[in-house]
Each structure stands twice: as structure tokens, then as C-alpha cells.
Subunit: 311 residues, 2 copies
């Protein structure tokens, strides 16, 4: 691992070529960062689809064949698979390989990553990017452009590991991402706020609307432009991925959920008491925060997310 951090990889193994894995394949190929890209998925149909689409150059029959001779191994599976993958890495990954994951939870990943052999260089990563779609068809090369990627490196002081962190950083930057280095516990709390809780709330709202007796599903669909439809986007995300996120980030999610429920109780009481001033004050905070998100390049400026033809 004394290589130039910006050099390309000769053989890249992608474990789980879904939305994120296939987007990485597209982006790396486009940036001239990859030699051969080998894909493996425990569902053969997914690897074969990735091959047909030209996302990967070869579909490997098993994990061992996928990582043989790889200098970069990308773990792009749901978070729950991580323990089993670390055992497979210990058994089959070639000495010197750089390993990155893309999981939305970092505490559990960092703990698992600390169990791999010392001659493997596992840098836990979380690119804060995605869409509500899944599978190899959903990937595209600009997914990470101007998005943040959070690295939570292990507590290793060896130079080879530090060089691996530099290489992982260079890789993400070469495909357009901005890097932040963070403690995994803080990552899991920050992302519980900006990603995990919003998904939980969206799933909850969709579930609540689905179960009503007095309002039909046809009405929910018809009048969804009143606001509901916004929530259905992230509520359409991959259920397995999100099940694993909540199982592996329980403490942080329950903490921010407590804060949310407290705020909701305050607004509920203001509605019950007809306290218009309290409601108005609470409702004025959204505009400023949205403007800041737009100014930071993390959101479109167009009204209604640009859904309407306005000319």
C-alpha cells in the first residue's frame, strides 16, 4: 500500500452490484480508475444482470473467485451481511487489498472491520447519496457528484493503513464526492437525524395512510399532491437495506426519535389548544433551513422539486 493515492486499480471486486455498487462501477470506469471489474452477488440473477448491462466485466461464481487478485474490494451489500463478509475476507482476500464498504451505519461496520487480518486495509465509508430505486439498472455515474462521503477509519497507526485512507479518499474525490473524516459513533447519530429518522417517518406515514378505514387508498393517491407524495419517494426505498439500518443503529435512532416525538407532542398540544402563535413560530424555521440546503448545493432550487412544467 505504498502506491500513489491517485493511481487506478487493476482489478476491482464489487460485492453486491446494486444501486450503489453499480454506480461506483460506472463512475470509476468513467474516471479511468478501474482495470477489470468483477461482480459477485449471492443472488446470481443480479450479477448476471449487471454483466448484461455492462456494469461489470465478469460475474464471479463465488466470493473467493470475486476477490482473487483484487486490489480493491467494494462491499455494497445491506449492512446486516457485514459479519459474514469479514469472515470471507479473512479467508479469501489477497494481502494488501484496499477494502471499502458503502453502508449507512458505521459503528457496526467499524467493529466488524476491526476483525479482518492486518494485511487487509478496510476503510469504512458512507457516501451520502442514493435514489429510491434498487438493482444494477438503477446505477449511474454521477450519483456521488457533489455529495458528501464520510470515512470512519479504524484506530490503526501503521503507515500502510494511513496510505490506504489516502487512497480511499482519492478514489471518492476522483468521482466527485467531498470527504469528511468522522468518528463512527458521531456518524451514526448525525445520519440518524438526516437520513434514518426521515426514512422511518416516511415509512410510518405511508403505513398509517395505508391502514385507514375512513379514507380510501384511491383518495390517498388522488390527493397526494397535497404533500403526501413527497414522503412516498424515500418510503419506496429498499426494505432489506432499511431493515438492516434500523437493526444496526438502534440506539441513535431511538434517541433522535425521542426528540422528534417530543417536538410532535408540543405541536399537537398547540393544535388542540388553538395556539396559533406557537404554530406560526414553529412553522417559520423550515424556509431558512431549506435555503441553506439549496445554497450548500445539496438540493434543487426549482419549486416542487422541478416536477411541474412552469412555462
Amino acid at each position: 500500500m505504498t502506491a500513489n493515492p491517485t493511481q487506478s486499480f487493476e482489478r476491482v471486486a464489487i460485492i453486491g452490484p446494486g444501486l450503489i455498487g453499480s454506480s461506483l462501477a460506472h463512475a470509476m470506469r468513467d474516471a479511468g480508475l478501474s482495470g477489470e471489474i468483477i461482480g459477485f452477488d449471492r443472488d446470481n440473477a443480479i450479477a448476471n444482470r449487471a454483466l448484461e448491462l455492462g456494469v461489470i466485466d465478469k460475474a464471479a461464481p463465488d466470493f473467493a473467485a470475486a476477490v482473487a487478485n483484487a486490489d480493491l474490494i467494494i462491499l455494497a451489500t445491506p449492512v446486516g451481511a457485514i459479519t459474514g463478509l469479514c469472515e470471507l475476507l479473512n479467508a479469501h482476500a489477497p494481502a494488501g487489498a484496499l477494502i471499502i464498504d458503502v453502508g449507512s451505519v458505521k459503528g457496526a461496520i467499524a467493529a466488524a472491520a476491526a476483525t479482518v487480518r492486518e494485511n487487509l486495509y478496510f476503510i469504512p465509508c458512507h457516501p451520502v447519496a442514493g435514489t429510491e430505486q434498487s438493482g444494477p439498472e438503477a446505477g449511474f455515474k454521477t450519483l456521488f457528484k457533489d455529495r458528501w462521503c464520510i470515512l470512519t477509519p479504524l484506530a490503526r497507526e501503521d503507515e500502510a493503513y494511513k496510505a490506504a485512507v489516502a487512497r480511499a479518499t482519492a478514489l471518492w474525490e476522483a468521482i466527485g464526492a467531498h470527504i469528511e473524516i468522522m468518528d463512527p459513533t458521531h456518524h451514526d447519530l448525525a445520519l440518524a437525524v438526516t437520513s434514518h429518522l426521515p426514512h422511518l417517518i416516511a415509512f410510518t406515514l405511508v403505513g398509517a395512510a395505508d391502514d385507514l378505514e375512513s379514507v380510501t387508498q384511491a383518495e390517498v393517491i388522488k390527493y397526494s399532491a397535497g404533500g403526501f407524495r413527497d414522503f412516498t419517494r424515500i418510503a419506496a426505498s429498499d426494505p432489506v437495506m432499511w431493515r438492516d439500518v434500523f437493526i444496526h443503529n438502534k440506539d441513535a435512532v431511538l434517541e433522535v426519535l425521542g426528540r422528534f416525538s417530543e417536538e410532535l407532542a408540543v405541536l399537537q398540544r398547540a393544535i388542540r389548544w388553538g395556539d396559533g402563535e406557537a404554530l406560526h413560530d414553529a412553522f417559520t424555521r423550515g424556509r431558512e433551513l431549506r435555503r441553506a440546503i439549496v445554497d450548500a448545493g445539496q438540493e434543487t432550487t426549482a419549486p416542487n422539486f422541478g416536477r411541474d412544467e412552469t412555462d
Copy 2:
């Protein structure tokens, strides 16, 4: 009111030429449905801006001047203004005028509309359309295209009132909307589900994220692409309009909020207990519902609302 339902209006008064009022002005002018359009706002600056932008043809100095000789009066203010407006209509509106509003709550509006003189024809309307922006600049002529507009007519059996309902229907249809006739109580419950509760939840989430001690606002902004940013769109909506909605639709909102809280408690318990199967089952409902909303023409098909350049 025995006129042909599709004929145009000679003089249209728009009370409150904001996002919805000015969109109606653009759409009616474009469809050749309006002669002169007079605007009035209790904030003179808004009426003057609407005049400068060419949204209205004249800015009236007061309500009485705005509605003088009008054959169509459009009330496009926040819902809380309705009682005062009905008193002004009784005092100043010309006999025979068709009156429509655009409020997001219909029970309170229908009760107020029942207090206007019998020679005024008030049809409560709710176009389920909008953006997170406000003011005369925000209006555009296609806002109502392929959106639903719900009418909750008064319990009046006279032929002139029925003709007025037909004329209001023809007006909305001419600018691209689809019409549904509904009881105001059912409207308020259905919209509590599809619009009012989603807004309340979005305001709550933004408030909860704004108040955290452990995660900075800079981090919330940076990592908002993880899902949070979706909620900030509707949380950026007009605080006065939304204050009035919750004050005037208290019962229905509290009812659907109870249903939401129940569903949230179930998911919270599943997270605490690590019940992955319950989470997975709950999370699978979103995709189907979103597909149905897209199929119904109420949502874009593009991933991430089409925010990304994917080519």
C-alpha cells in the same frame, strides 16, 4: 346565473393574489376566460407587485372597489380570513356574483359561505396543487393541470346555485383540473391524511433537527441528501397559511395524528426489540403505493424527483 357554464367572466376580482391567486389569473387569462382582472390584498405591496408583474390588470384600493361589478370573485387568502371576508361580501358583492375560494380546509369555509346573501353564489373549492413558494412571483399558469380540485357545494336546491356549481366546474376544467364533488367533513379528513399531516410531520422533523445539541446545523445541511432534504420542501411552505389550516381543521388532524403515532409506536418497538421481520414487512408497502401515485399522474417517474443529471 343562467349563463352558459363555459362562457368567460367580464370582471374577475382576486382577493389575495399570492401563489394560488396569481396562478389562477395566469391560467384564466391563458384560457381566454377572463376580461379584466382586479386584485386586492390587505398588504398593498403584494397587490402592487402583482400589478407590476402583469398578473392583474388593476390593483383596487379596498375590498369594495375590488368586487364592484365583478361577476367572479376569487378568495385566495389564508383560511383564517374567511369570516371577515364573508361579512365584506354581504356588504359589497354585486348580486349574482359567482364566488370561489381555494382554501385547504372546507368545513369552516362551508359554514362561513352559508352566511352570505342568497343572491351570491359561493362554491367552496380546494385545488389540490401548490408549491412551497409564496407571493405573486410564484404563480404559473399550469399549476392546476392534471391536479384534482374538490368542490364542496352548499346544501342549496335553487337552480341558480346549481348553475353556479356547473360554472365553477367548467372554470376549473378549462384550466386543466379534474373535479370531485365531496362533503366538506370528508374532504377535511381525506386532506388531513394526504396534506395536513404530512406538513405537520415535515415541520416537526425540521424543528427537531434544528434543536439538537449533539449534531450541528452544518452537519444537517451537509448530509441532508440522505433523506432529510425531501421534508424541507413542504416545511418551507407559508407559515400563516398552515397555521390557519391546523386551527381550522383541528379535529381531523388530531384524529389522523393519533393513527400516525400508533404506527410509529409499533415501529419504535420493533426497532427496540430488533424485530427485523416486522420492520421489513412495514417497509414493503411504500413501493406499491408510490407506483400507484406515479401511475395516476400525480408524481414524476424520475428517481430522486429528477434532481440528478443521470446521463
